[in-house]
């Protein structure tokens, strides 16, 4: 369970699979709450665009990922 403190904010970001792997491979400040999320990212095919929910604090924690597809974007327009 994620507990939000005053120093933390939550952010949704969009990145290609390769970019997020490069980010956490090269930046020790990027962590995972749940290592299954890391395994999930690595299982996506090359070039998959992901919606990434992050907790911005110290460290930056990747909370969850979803593939960006039409079902996900069905709620984008009001």
């Amino acid at each position: 369970m994620v507990i939000m403190t005053a120093e933390e904010t939550f952010l949704t970001d969009f990145e290609l699979k390769e970019d997020i792997i490069e980010s956490y491979s090269n930046n020790p400040d990027i962590k995972f709450d749940d290592l299954n999320v890391k395994k999930k990212i690595e299982a996506f095919p090359s070039g998959t665009l992901l919606e990434i929910n992050k907790k911005i604090g110290s460290p930056i924690t990747i909370l969850s990922v979803k593939e960006v597809n039409e079902a996900l974007l069905s709620s984008a327009f009001k």
Binding site: E18, D19, S75, A76, F77
Partner: protein
């Protein structure tokens, strides 16, 4: 790494987003724009741009986080302060984007707004910025996404 040298940057206004929000297949186009933004060789994550003022004008049509996924939302640069109207600001901003690679830019707008841009004195003799709307804009976005898909398939 999927990386594509797109021929033009993409700048859009609120009129384009409002027009897009009324089109069948709008989710697909939004997805294409997000892929293009993320895969640009020259302007990674900054390829597609919208001025903050324009983004705020379509808050009622699109969730902000998805707008941010498809377009980098930028504050108005200081050099635009001297321009009073949004048409001038957007045109001058679009022209300024062509100073860096890939040195060309498409301004995406609605069919109704296209002529207003083209009549502006700021658009006289401009060749690096092209104003496009409607189905032509959709065709350009699709062609950029096809380039992304090709690069992705080669990488797999």
């Amino acid at each position: 790494m999927v990386s594509v040298a797109y021929s033009h940057r993409l700048l859009c206004d609120s009129e384009f987003i409002i027009w897009l929000s009324q089109q069948v297949g709008r989710e697909t186009i939004l997805s294409y724009l997000m892929h293009i933004k993320s895969s640009s060789q020259d302007c990674k994550r900054e390829h597609n741009i919208i001025l903050k003022q324009e983004a705020e004008a379509c808050n009622e049509k699109i969730e902000n986080k998805y707008m941010g996924g498809a377009f980098k939302i930028v504050e108005e640069p200081s050099f635009l302060i001297k321009y009073d109207d949004l048409i001038s600001k957007t045109l001058v901003f679009g022209i300024s984007l062509t100073e860096d690679p890939p040195f060309k830019c498409y301004l995406l707008t609605s069919p109704e707004k296209e002529m207003e841009y083209k009549k502006s004195k700021h658009y006289e003799n401009v060749t690096t910025l092209q104003i496009i709307s409607g189905e032509k804009a959709i065709r350009i976005i699709k062609s950029f996404f096809n380039a992304f898909s090709y690069a992705r398939d080669i990488g797999r």
